[in-house]
Amino acid sequence: MMEWVRRYWRFLLLWTLGLLAGGIALALMGAYSGILNIAASAGHPAWLESFLQLGKERSVKFNSRAIAPPALEPAELVPLGAAHFQGTCAICHGSPLQPVNPIFGHMLPHPPDLQRHATHWTREQLFWIARHGLQLTGMPAWSGQNRDDEVWAVVAFLEALPSMTEADYRRYASGHSKTQDYADAQLVSAGRPRFDLTACSRCHDTADAPPTSPYIPRIGGQEEAYLKRALHDFQDDMRQSGFMEPVAGDLDDEHIERLASYYAAQRPAFRQPARPSSADESELGRQLAEQGDRTRKIPACNACHGRKGREDYPRLAGQSAQYIGQQLHIWRQGGRDKTPHGAMMAVVAKRMTEQQVAAAASFFANQPPWTERSPRP
């Protein structure tokens, strides 16, 4: 064998190089000639279909292998994921309430029906696909940077979707929003009533109900200037959220004005949080809020978030501990410092310990929301 190689190696080398060059030339000629029909309507021949499937499966499995999923609490996350799914994903993937839109049904590959296909993937793989998207399929990457927490909410929903009844899905996806039957004339002019992406009450609180998930902020009674700022920040991609950016992107300035003014005028009702805090924790939280921590150079929360704070600073009293804690974590990881206000809070959040984050979050969750409106300057 070795003798043979030694004798013919020049011959072998020449042939290998020749075949390679020929192959590349053939591929270029094929592409240039336009002979390859990439029409979505043409479909894939069976062999190409299996080849592409193989590539996709292996890529998803290989790239998601290092992901360590956090513990997912379905009751807190499913409503969040469901509302986002209904607002932005269902148009391609379909949902128990709506079949796939025929336009997107003619994509190649077809967006899978996730009621059946979600079980095909593990938790890590679902996360990877939703977080990063898939090339050449039309599946987009997550639109909020550093917001893995949001992607996990969608994963929790996707895991629950296959066993979800239509009524359950409707309850989760619509939240507090309602659709009413239109009279014929209205139907003609306004179209079929549906859960619109920008219907805030799909997720957020109403006059008599809290947000559908503790990870969703209570916006009734919030400062008007703050609400406007938040929506503009989402719109301008200055504040990151895969959930809120598409919603804010769908609003114009006048809508933002009206929504901010509406929510600022709401009078939120107080509900004792589900997770009461220990005596030590509430004392630590009270100290942080009222005095801060001089050794760690953390000013008192109430210096800014107290009753006489600026109109573009948010009110925290009555927000859930989960929401406050989650936002502080985003700040600590550098995910919320693009705006001037965010950059200021980032400095403070990074000085806090994990324990202080939990205590401060719990302290404000236990405060009844303020009912008075701030005076206009």
């Binding site: 801060g292 001089r294 150079k297 953390i298 000013p299 008192a300 109430n302 210096a303 800014c304 006489k308 704070g309 600026r310 573009d312 600073y313 705006t339 001037p340 206000h341 950059a343 200021m344 809070m345 400095v347 403070v348 300057p377």
Partner: protein, 330 residues
């Protein structure tokens, strides 16, 4: 109060300012404006002149040993010459200078036992000075980045640090003393006559070390008492209402105190009488209304990585109102 010329303070952005200020005399180690520093200056001159004479003498001996008459050269290389010139001469000269040096230091030591000194605590922070006047009745008054002292009385400075090692250096009155974590180092000095001098952190303490300066204002005892009484009192009710509202609403009081108001933060410099100080940002900006606006909107550029959070969202009119309020806190 604004004794320092405008043109001089223009130099604030220049990092090389230490050297330039040194030339101006305000931060000169040759100034010798008090007994401690003038003794140090005298010691320095004695040492310098003695060293110069010895050097000249050695040069002469070398010349003789190379080119001198053979009789002299023989004397130099004799055992007697080596013992006298190589052992006796250095021992006598160096011992004399050493004893003289100890005597000078001892005279400074006398201040330690002075009765009823003016006690001021200075805490080094990244990158500013917390100045606490310790009153005879046990109470304290906090200020920052400026030390006022009465002339003719012994001043006892208690030097400590809130974070890393700093060094308190007020060359017109005394030598450097380090501020070491966990310790209180004392420095005693006397100012002979009224005047304004500049001091500087003299131990590298992080990125903005070069921008950590302060002013010392020596005043006649009566002026000092009047000044201290005013410094001790709270801020008078603000006439700049909008600036005051912004100051509290924006959370400034979470870190800064304005005594007499609800701003009681202890993290940053006390601002009760900030409008009456000579400089802003620990000696880097002249104290004028536009400096407040500059500091608030650009402090991370003026003093990179300083520990105040960035407040880049104030509008121009808000900055004006805040500046007017702070400038009026005299």
């Amino acid at each position: 109060m604004k004794i320092i010329s405008h043109g001089f303070l223009r130099l604030y952005l220049v990092i090389a300012l230490t050297a330039m200020v040194g030339c101006e005399g305000e931060q000169s180690a040759f100034a010798g404006l008090g007994p401690v520093s003038s003794r140090i200056t005298l010691l320095m001159w004695v040492m310098f002149i003695a060293a110069a004479l010895i050097t000249a003498f050695i040069c002469l001996l070398i010349f003789i040993s190379i080119a001198g008459p053979s009789r002299w050269r023989q004397k130099l290389s004799s055992e007697q010459g080596v013992v006298l010139g190589g052992i006796v001469f250095p021992v006598v000269t160096l011992s004399t200078l050493l004893i003289y040096g100890f005597m000078v230091l001892r005279e400074g030591e006398n201040l330690v036992h002075a009765e009823n000194p003016v006690r001021i605590s200075v805490v080094g922070e990244r990158w500013w000075w917390r100045v606490i006047y310790l009153h005879d009745d046990g109470q304290t008054t906090e200020s920052a980045n400026e030390v006022h002292i009465p002339t003719g009385r012994t001043i006892e400075l208690e030097l400590s640090t809130a974070d890393v090692i700093h060094s308190f250096w007020l060359p017109a009155y005394a030598g450097k003393v380090d501020m070491v974590p966990g310790r209180i180092n004392k420095l005693h000095l006397i100012a002979d006559k009224p005047g304004v001098v500049r001091g500087q952190c003299a131990e590298y303490c992080g990125g903005a070390h070069a921008l950590m300066a302060f002013y010392a204002v020596a005043m006649l005892p009566a002026d000092y008492d009047a000044w201290l009484a005013k410094e001790r009192s709270g801020a008078k009710p603000a006439s700049e209402k909008e600036g005051e509202r912004l100051f509290f609403a924006s959370g400034c009081g979470g870190c800064h105190s304005v005594r007499g108001s609800r701003a009681n933060g202890e993290i940053g410099p006390d601002l009760t009488h900030v409008g009456g100080r000579l400089s802003l940002g620990a000696g880097i900006l002249p104290n004028e209304p536009k400096s407040f606006a500059q500091w608030i909107s650009r402090h991370q550029t003026l003093k990179p990585e300083n520990l105040m959070p960035p407040f880049d969202f104030f509008s121009e009119s808000e900055l004006q109102a805040l500046s007017a309020y702070l400038n009026a806190l005299e």
